[in-house]
Subunit: 345 residues, 4 copies
């Protein structure tokens, strides 16, 4: 049994980590922290967890926590993560960090989009935790930088094309739509029910902080520095991201070649489903699951490919992928604790 | 391994049975039927099931099916059920029927609310499949009449009070609200997104077919023939029923006595959660789970008790309870295949 | 042209007042106030109002405002209202107060449910602004206490029955369901999209502050002090309240008598629609309008009547009714500025 | 007073036409038709219209109808429209056709995307009813081809850029998201509440029938035959379309030039609102209104402009624009009957 601690259990990601891990056959949650709710039972904060887990929220004291757990999930905001992760690593523990603090390899880029980095020396040892791209490196690291939700959906959509030179990198446009849970559980007028319900809108157009993360991985796969257009939108749903990604095909790329690229890349992946012509990706078909569903359409009139990918932003876009990374880190079957879903309707 | 067949797999209940059973450690789905989709893979009908289950929908031919399975879930409309259940039982198989056809013990009442019954001789052997009330009888029957969704929520709310004479039976009013999945997956104007979304309305006021089912069980528990007021409403959500049930307290009933009645009745139940004062029942806290959450409030000014219960109508109100019944029927742990949820948000 | 000021324009009620009045043929908005957004254009706070109204939010300085307007809508929280209303009245202006501060005639009851009242001397001159009950008194008052949203829906549902002695007052149970706009536009975790969407729950069971307001008016109509059961619930919709109200019929009351009572009471009302047997009340059919739709069902088995009423909580439950009151106060046609809706879907 | 008839009043567009026109100061609805509901009052089909309009649905008999009305709104499916429009025109009446039958000027293109055209001789006299582009021609025609909902949102977004050569035509990608009312009021599994709610998906990728309509108008404005990428998606909302349109800027185009182009084009338009930097377009801010809200963002890293436009698909995308066209046709003020909204929340 693996002893795990969840730092920051009072957000939606923390709650989903608690739910998944409470049902994981080989993990035991030994500590959860929340400054705001310290002293309360976790199920008083999240009534759905009643009877699934009986644990009390603590103030995070890293030294004490290091006696309780071997694997740490840090589900805290960026900046907070970089303040606590070094201490956990120094105690010889392994960290799966769900913040943005260790995702960007270039500290200058991080500091341009976020703020000053207080632990840049850890960036080089962090592994970007997208198992479909970095499985081998995840196995041996102590610090997994769990990817952002939008980047997960977009990078998985593009990887087979970029790795095979099938598209022109500078032509990429990613139009993404996310459910409201991506905005977290903080009180804010902008995410009140009445502001989001029965509506739809773009936000942070041209300056969303996931842009450099997407561009970092796209550039690696393209083998060249690549800028792209990324527009996030807010959907009136709780869970789910659908990204519609456009790119111009390279010369000589046939439909059959594209189909083969996706099959080669993801044919043996547990959590990527390539859709044939009977359906298109939809957030409702991955709800509550760790799947990324991918479909594509090629238009010969414009010579463009449209790739669509759907994930549950809290699962494959956060907590589920973090558990997938834990399974890899600890040598377990990659799907442990992550089966039995999605839910529809 | 128990071999199971799902007759009527193309509705929401059939889909949920398929999902739960595909992940059940001791059950194997050996056949699913759908006249409309015969020949298609089930995941072509329900794309969320892709990779969870790989099975092809068949035309239901009972004789053939009886070679394939030992437990039958009949998730078909009333009337259709009574036409096929006898044949399955005659082949020595066990049936968990999710229709209304075997729930009412009095054929005259059935025929008043539904239509002529073609297999009334089976009514006496059918067991009303509410495990919290009839667990022992379920263990030994061959025909479980899986309860309706509204009745499940209302009967569980009232059982401790009625069994202890704590309320006046004729004072009962049940105001229930259900998500749209209760209306099934048939094309109909009334359940189109635009008709249901951002709205709320009562329907079938005073004549919903679950009324006699609720009254049957309430009468048994009250020890007297009981009529009650039951008003169903349609919520703009997919899953969930919340029932708000009002009744006048009998003389001398204290708050502490009521608390004790609920604890005595449900303290050791896996799937009933009695809420203390930290939260009230809410459909979002049981979503996707087999739980029934119950809370109550006593108002001494009016001498009434208000009991609130929340279930997921597709799970505890249908497919989950059916699997719970299967577990009981087959001697398995009652919670097998039913853990790891609910989902929030 | 009537010059009007809206005190507290940055909530949903203030926004709806601004929208309705900006389109009113005989009113001109001369001032809107908002401490939080002072200095901003109102359409920067509410982008939907762009081009409908061009006005800047001010800090509320009553003395200055009294030079600008003759009719004041105070759309501020209770307690704030009682602090500013006396000054406006002293300046010889008329006030339509949308808070709870002047609705209860008995200061003791107010102080039991709210807090100390600082202007109790105004309670006797305030008229409860439900035009269908108090039209004549509204015409001549300077202070209209605009009713609460839940009370509007419940009192209108019951008035014809109570005024005619058709029901037993102590048997009344009101089960009400409201959209999230009723909770206002303040940032709060409980009304975030993810907490409300795809869910349903009761709240403040047995202690909602609208209870004494409903009981006050029910007692007047019943001619006796009356307690009742009132349970509010939160719907995953923005606008709308549906109340399902149960009561036991008095002896000798026939269906025809009940039909006649509703026709007599509301037959010539502009904003109450009595539904015949072709439909039931639904929030989606009054959305955006000042209508109250009412339907009923009599069950002879239990001798109960179930009355259902639907309103848009922001319109007939707040801003629309306030404008209706303004029209009455100022001698205009009661429907001015309130036609052309509802919206469906 | 203008006498108008609505052919096909039982769909969402017909209902909205009925609502708007029932409140129009200079129009009188003298006939509404519906084969399915003939003989019923319109408010029995759409309960929200009770008391707004009292009229009975008729079987459409064009000859009779031509005695009753001067302006005809044909809100019927394509193919049905081309069968009845010629007869109405022959009677000397004017038609605003909301189907696709007279939008494409090239019959070959129509027949490629739809089916054989039975009245191609009328194509040359039909005017594409986008007032912001074709106001002068609308004034004098007898046949207005009311634009599709997606095309309205996309063409208005692009017009100022294309007319000024500010973008490269072949770079255009339109990613559009529509509410479910766009799918109409026919019973269908795909638009049931449970299929749409809490989900999001693309559909008809690469082959939606609005593609040739968009390309026709884009080609006119670009002065060259233009193909583009258009992807429609289904939002879990009733009303609203948001289009996010990407294009590469032509050389030398500055931000100020783009701002000026939008101001020049739309500065004096009643129903186009150009957003400054205080907000971005959102469907909830145009809900129920005839507005098209437009905002844009220029990214110098990729040299692309992202234009976002929001409309209510039933209003500016259908019924509202049709009434705007009627106002132009008949010499009324263009905004008659179309003010007082949008609604939020």
């Amino acid at each position: 049994m693996i002893n795990v601690a969840i730092i920051g259990a009072s957000g939606y990601t923390g709650a989903e980590l608690s739910r998944i891990l409470s049902n994981h056959p080989h993990a035991k949650i030994t500590a959860v922290t929340s400054r705001q709710h310290a002293g309360k039972k976790l199920h008083e904060v999240f009534p759905h967890l009643r009877d699934l887990i009986s644990i009390t929220c603590e103030i995070p004291v890293i030294e004490t926590l290091c006696d309780q757990a071997d694997i740490f999930f840090t589900a805290v905001p960026h900046k907070t993560a970089m303040e606590i992760v070094p201490e956990i690593l120094s105690a010889g523990k392994k960290v799966i960090d769900l913040s943005a603090d260790f995702r960007l390899r270039d500290v200058a880029v991080y500091e341009q989009w976020y703020q000053k980095h207080s632990a840049p020396q850890y960036l080089s040892q962090a592994v970007y935790g997208l198992p479909e791209l970095y499985r081998e490196a995840i196995k041996t690291t102590s610090l997994v930088a769990n990817p952002g939700c939008y980047p997960t959906s977009i990078i998985l959509a593009l990887a087979p094309l970029l790795e095979n030179g099938a598209i022109i990198p500078e032509s990429i446009i990613a139009d993404s739509k996310s459910g409201a849970s991506g905005a977290g559980r903080s009180a804010a007028v902008g995410t009140l029910f009445c502001e989001v319900s029965d509506g739809f809108r773009p936000y942070k157009v041209g300056n969303h902080r996931h842009t450099p993360e997407i561009e970092q991985e796209v550039s690696v796969m393209a083998g060249q520095a690549t800028s792209l257009s990324f527009t996030p939108h807010l959907l009136p749903i709780s869970r789910g991201i659908l990204s519609t990604v456009y790119a111009t095909l390279s010369e000589g790329i046939t439909d059959e070649m594209v189909t083969a690229m996706y099959k080669d890349k993801y044919g043996s992946e547990q959590f990527v489903r390539i859709l044939d012509n009977t359906s298109l990706p939809a957030t409702q078909f991955v709800r509550g699951s760790n799947y990324c569903d991918i479909g594509f359409h090629i238009d010969r009139r414009t010579n463009r490919i449209t790739v669509m990918s759907a994930i549950d932003n809290i699962v494959k876009g956060a907590a589920g992928q973090a558990v997938q990374n834990m399974n890899i880190l600890t040598g377990l079957n990659e799907e442990e604790g992550l089966t039995g879903t999605p839910f529809f309707p």
